[in-house]
């Protein structure tokens, strides 16, 4: 039986993919599950696995070529199996799709001509998919209590033992791929996740603590009016900006001390960076100010039960925001190791789609550049983003004396439909307090 190798849809927005590399050659024997090729999507490079075993009989799409999702890129079949019919069918389909593809491309070109030259088009197109995903997650947590979770609007299928294990070990089942019939999550999948350390939502901090519940707040008339008026006055997301300056002296000392203790940066040990301190402080502050960890929905505001931090990472030709999940439930060292790993893979474009979608709050740090302060644009449906400038020695007045201190300026962009000025200010006050008294953050 021949098995088709096709351009898989690896993210909700992916329409086409480029074949980067064939990992095997025509005539090679393939086992099901083997990686046969690498493809590039709109967000990352990903592996293509064989869905059946046999011999790679035909490479249809050559390295470097771009084809639409679903197109045949190769054929795996028995050594002497007749694959001509299959190839002819694929050719006919490709012909038809090609015509369609051109039409779509033309339309796109037109749009590009009229639309602004920036990227908002792409951002907007992502929004519906993402909103859908977070809606699914919301009901997952709501339904989890009676034993039936939900994912993507359907049931989250998991065996009782898998559920119990995930509960005991603090794993998030919705992040685990199921290998049972119909994608059901079974014990072996949870064991695999435990071994690989993926999907951990707890860690030490989680012991004994309970996750905040997702919460939907119905809009008051005033809130509706604020939303309507602000939207009318300032584009789809009405931004406002809050800036504060933070004394980083003690945080940097703590970081140095911590790295010394854990052998940070040496073989295998994670090194805690300034960015990790910011992630930790933001996570802690978000737990205390759930009104910031929220989204504007259709006719309602969603407060998220989880704290998933987006980390803006610059790429040569754009940017991507890998998501550090459950940051509030992780210690500083763990945040450091996970963030380092995420950022590294983001730069190499090796993120899975679910690793860069669905953050609840984001941080954009340009501190490595000579940037004092800047404002960042909110990544909808998040309600806020924190823009971080460089840390520099500055003269400040302490107890009537001018002294030199290491200071850092941060600016938070807020969605005014969700967050008001004072609400944002209180969050920043907590955030600043965390970094200036970093021991509180570790408590």
């Amino acid at each position: 039986m021949a098995t088709k190798v096709v351009m898989a849809q690896l993210s909700p927005t992916m329409e086409e993919g480029r074949l980067v590399e064939w990992k095997i050659s025509e005539g090679d024997v393939v086992q099901q599950g083997d990686v046969v090729a690498e493809i590039e999507t709109d967000k990352a490079n990903m592996d293509v696995e064989a869905l059946g075993s046999g011999v790679l009989r035909k490479i249809v799409v050559q390295e470097g070529e771009t084809v639409p999702v679903g197109a045949l890129i190769g054929v795996i079949a028995g050594e002497d199996e007749d694959i001509e019919t299959l190839l002819r069918e694929a050719e006919a389909e490709a012909g038809a799709a090609g015509d369609e593809g051109e039409a779509v491309a033309d339309e796109k070109a037109d749009n590009e001509g009229t639309a602004a030259e920036e990227e908002p088009g792409e951002e907007v197109s992502r929004e519906p998919a993402r909103a859908g995903a977070s809606a699914g997650e919301a009901s997952a947590d709501a339904a989890a209590d009676d034993g039936g979770g939900r994912r993507d609007g359907g049931r989250l299928r998991a065996s009782p033992v898998a559920r119990r294990m995930a509960e005991e070990e603090g794993l998030d089942l919705s992040r685990i791929e199921g290998s049972g019939p119909g994608g059901r999550i079974v014990k072996a999948d949870v064991e695999g996740a435990l071994e690989s350390g993926a999907a951990v939502s707890g860690g030490r901090a989680a012991a004994g603590s309970t996750r905040l519940a997702d919460e939907t707040i119905q809009l008051s008339q005033m809130r509706k009016a604020i939303a309507r008026r602000l939207t009318q006055s300032l584009g789809p997301v009405p931004h406002f900006f809050l800036t504060t300056e933070i004394d980083m002296g003690r945080a940097l000392e703590l970081r140095a001390e911590l790295n010394e203790q854990i052998g940070g940066g040496e073989a295998g040990a994670p090194k805690v960076g300034v960015n990790d301190l910011l992630l930790k402080a933001a996570a802690e502050a978000l737990v205390r100010h759930p009104e910031i960890n929220a989204s504007w929905g259709e006719g309602e505001i969603r407060r998220h039960g989880r704290v998933d931090l987006g980390i803006a990472v610059a790429l040569d030709d754009g940017l991507i925001t890998p998501v550090l999940r459950d940051a509030d439930r992780k210690g500083l060292v763990r945040i450091a190791s996970e963030a380092t790993e995420l950022i590294d893979r983001a730069r190499r474009r090796k993120l899975d789609p679910d690793e860069y979608q669905g953050a609840t709050f984001s941080i954009s740090n340009l501190g490595m550049f000579p940037i004092e302060e800047f404002t960042a644009i909110i990544n909808p449906p998040e309600a806020a983003i924190l823009a971080v400038g460089r840390t520099a020695e500055k003269p400040v007045v302490v107890d009537g004396e001018v002294v030199v201190r290491r200071r850092m300026r941060v600016t938070m962009s807020c969605d005014h439909r969700v967050i008001d000025g004072a609400t944002g200010a209180r969050f920043l006050e907590t955030f600043k307090g965390m970094l200036e008294n970093p021991l509180a953050m570790l408590a």
Partner: protein, 470 residues
């Protein structure tokens, strides 16, 4: 007749015929070769000289035993029982015939070509068949499935003569009953025959080399069964090895060795129930280059592929446990794999073992001992049948249901049962385990009342210290 097929299955036992039917369902041109061997025929040993006729005789035994021991109490008279082994055997043969006829029908319905004769692999993609009552045929096969099954095994010095030293094959068609016999081997085959012949009035000695009956099952099952057998008059000798047999003496003299030393037992008949061995000879394995394992099975992977491309092996030839239901499922996996599907491989840790002795035994998953060895934090929930409503009404309230769970995650590691009709409870335990139910789910389901299955629910409750009826 076309001689070219997508699949040729050699052997039409419970592994082979199921594989052939599944392959045909998936649109593959399929042939199934079966010789009318001593222990085989369409349906294999299972239908002809194994599971099915044995169960038929066990039903005769149960009826005899019940009427004899409990008829009066049940209000059924007269209770003076006479035994007619010939009639019992005839009944069992009729059942076998009916079922093997059913396989012919299924083959026709699924357009499978049934070739009667001895098949052997004759080069790549070729099966040579010495057709019974006809000319030899050379079948072309894109895929070959070896399902040649197994035959009875014995010990040196205890070679089968089919009269005085017999195996299960002969025991199923015994014309005349001996006055006393020795059953060698306390596995499920041995305990079943001990049950049959004891019920028919034969004086039975059951000899097992290991310390408990039913080795391989949870030890408590074997111990409970031994107690029950001794009570009804079967001479159970565990920890006893057979050494030699004087066949010329009348009665024969069997020498056994125990911890205390040698002993002798006089007997008219010796039934060897010491296991089976896979049939690998005259299948063409060596010529085809099919590898075997150190313990004498064909080496296969999870999809039942052998070391030679295009050749699969299923059932008793493909490794332990040598059970019909294991073979049938392997047949399905192999057929689906051949058809290019990606079937879930058979889970070897979830195959039930069942003995149809009275009381019945059924076991699935890890025994209490194995679970402890594997380092689980083991908790056992045990529900005795002595006060179980359904068991009492059946007049058969010996035994228990025992559930072994892991306290950490509540996983049901194993379920072990002995008692009335527990063979039918194995599937509940198996499906529960397959779906990874915890004791909580077993307990939460309102089991029908009064049924034997309530004992499973109570065992689950007991494992959580919440049993209601104890």
């Amino acid at each position: 007749m076309a001689d070219s097929f997508d699949v040729v299955v050699i052997g039409a036992g419970p592994a082979g015929y199921v594989c052939a039917i599944r392959a045909a369902q998936l649109g593959l041109e399929t042939a199934c070769v079966e010789s009318k061997s001593y222990e085989g025929g369409l349906g294999g040993t299972c239908l002809n000289w194994g599971c099915i006729p044995a169960k038929a005789l066990l039903e005769s035994a149960a009826l005899a035993h019940k009427l004899q021991s409990q008829g009066a109490a049940f209000g059924v008279k007269p209770v003076q029982v006479e035994y007619d082994m010939g009639a019992a055997v005839e009944r069992s043969r009729n059942i076998s015939e009916k079922l093997t006829g059913g396989i012919s029908y299924l083959f026709k319905k699924n357009e499978i070509e049934s070739v009667i004769g001895h098949g052997r692999i004759a080069g790549k993609g070729k099966v040579h068949v010495e057709v019974e009552d006809g000319e030899d045929r050379e079948l072309e096969a894109k895929h070959i499935v070896i399902a040649t099954g197994s035959v009875m095994k014995t010990f040196p010095g205890f070679e089968f003569d089919r009269e005085k030293v017999i195996g299960s094959r002969e025991a199923l068609a015994l014309g005349e009953l001996p006055s006393k016999m020795v059953v060698v081997g306390g596995g499920y085959v041995g305990v079943e025959f001990a049950d049959v012949f004891d019920a028919f009035g034969v004086q039975v000695t059951l000899v097992e080399a290991l310390d408990t009956l039913l080795p391989g099952f949870d030890q408590e099952l074997g111990k409970t069964l031994a107690r029950s057998y001794k009570k009804r008059g079967i001479d159970v000798r565990t920890g006893t090895r057979v050494k030699s047999l004087d066949r010329d003496a009348d009665p024969m003299v069997l020498t056994v060795e125990t911890k205390k030393g040698e002993e002798t037992i006089e007997t008219d008949l010796v039934l060897m129930a010491v296991g089976r061995r896979p049939v690998l000879e005259d299948v063409g394995l060596e010529e085809a280059g099919v590898e075997t394992t150190d313990d004498g099975f064909i080496r296969v992977d999870k999809m039942l592929r052998t070391s030679v491309e295009g050749i699969y092996a299923i059932g008793d030839v493909a490794g332990q446990p040598m059970l019909a239901h294991k073979g049938s499922h392997e047949g399905i996996v192999a057929a689906e794999h051949i058809a290019g599907q990606n079937p879930h491989p058979l889970r070897h840790d979830n195959i039930p073992s069942i003995g149809y002795c009275h009381p019945e035994v059924a076991s699935i998953g890890l025994s209490e001992e194995q679970a402890a060895e594997k380092g689980f934090d083991v908790k056992v929930g045990k529900f005795p049948l002595s006060a179980h409503g359904r068991a009492l009404t059946a007049g058969d309230n010996e035994g228990f249901v025992k559930m072994v769970i892991d306290t950490k995650y509540g996983e049901v590691l194993g379920v072990h049962m002995i008692g009335h009709n527990v063979s039918e409870l194995a599937a509940e335990a198996g499906i529960g385990r397959m779906l990874e139910a915890t004791a909580e789910e077993f307990a939460a389901h309102p089991h029908g009342h009064p049924t034997m299955s309530e004992a499973v629910m109570e065992a689950a409750l007991a494992a959580m210290d919440r049993a209601i009826h104890i």
